[in-house]
């Protein structure tokens, strides 16, 4: 039997998620914001994999989903960086404070 309880994995995922969230909402650098979002996705992946093993109905599905998630995250990073670069070209800055087009 496992000596590490489910809740420990979940707690780890929670901590990472919170760190990612905090980073995503406070960091000024857009690159760091993007990477913080990756961290949040990773935390979610941990949950998926954990439940795939220790869930009420363990199966491979969780891992498959994590895989999908990683794939989508990779795509997202690609697009995100593309936007970042185009933004930088327009504004000469990656400071997220200066991105406030929503206001106008």
């Amino acid at each position: 039997m496992s000596s590490v309880p489910v809740s420990a994995y979940l707690a780890l995922a929670l901590i990472l998620f919170c760190i990612g969230l905090y980073g995503a909402l406070t960091k000024k650098n857009t690159v760091i914001v993007l990477i913080s979002i990756e961290l949040m996705l990773n935390a979610v992946n941990i949950n998926l994999v954990t439940f795939s093993k220790y869930g009420a109905n363990p199966s491979i599905t969780g891992q498959v989903f994590a895989l999908f998630s990683i794939a989508v995250a990779a795509a997202e990073v690609a697009v995100g960086l593309a936007i970042l670069i185009s933004l930088y070209r327009n504004r000469r800055s990656v400071n997220i404070d200066e991105v406030n087009q929503l206001k106008n």
Binding site: S2, S3, V4, V6, S7, A8, Y9, L10, A11, L12, L14, I15, L16, C18, I19, L21, Y22, G23, L25, T26, K28, V31, I32, L34, I35, S36, E38, N42, N45, V49, S52, K53, A56, P58, S59, I60, T61, Q63, V64, L67, F68, I70, A71, V72, A74, A75, E76, V77, A78, V79, L81, A82, I83, L84, I85, S86, Y88, N90, V94, D97
Partner: protein
């Protein structure tokens, strides 16, 4: 809870992951932050191994620790950074507000999971893990799999278009 090797492994991996995350928040240089996060990603790969997901662990190392981190570093390098990486002043109220929110959220979720434990059911995930994933992916999840490829394609095209259109604009201006 018994003190087993698995426990030690988990504890050390988790510790490294969390430290990586905290460093992400506290370091001042962008490159250092990304590097700190590499540790986190690798530890997460280790956690996957503990959770009998060897294939996923490898993918994690390849995609995150490899591809994404490299891309991020390229992004950083492509965008010029002024010397001052110090956080701009102001926004402390919002940070505090957010911190309270995050802690509240964490507490609320932790309240939900802290004594969660399922009846452990014997499983066979660790046997031929990659094969299992492959079977599942190409039989049951074939349509999502194909759709993922569409997404990746779209992302690829999108990224190119985003970058190129700006080039043209710049070219027009120049």
């Amino acid at each position: 809870m018994t003190l087993t090797g698995e426990f030690f492994a988990f504890m050390s991996l988790a510790l490294v992951a969390v430290i990586g995350g905290v460093l992400l928040l506290n370091l001042t240089k962008v490159v250092h932050m990304v590097v700190a996060l590499v540790f986190t990603f690798v530890s997460i790969a280790g956690i996957y191994v503990l959770l009998s997901a060897e294939f996923l662990a490898v993918v994690q190392v390849m995609i995150y620790s490899g591809a994404i981190t490299i891309m991020m570093l390229f992004g950083i390098m492509l965008t010029r950074h002024h010397g001052d990486e110090a956080e701009p002043k102001g926004g402390t109220l919002r940070r505090l507000f957010l911190l309270v929110g995050v802690l509240g959220f964490g507490a609320a979720v932790y309240f939900g999971i802290y004594d969660l434990d399922f009846e452990a059911v014997p499983n066979t995930l660790h046997e031929n893990n990659t094969e299992q994933i492959g079977i599942s992916l190409f039989s049951h999840y074939i349509i999502p799999f194909e759709l993922t490829s569409v997404i990746l394609l779209a992302a690829l095209v999108g990224a190119i278009v985003l970058a190129r259109r700006d080039d043209e604009k710049e070219g027009d201006q120049e």
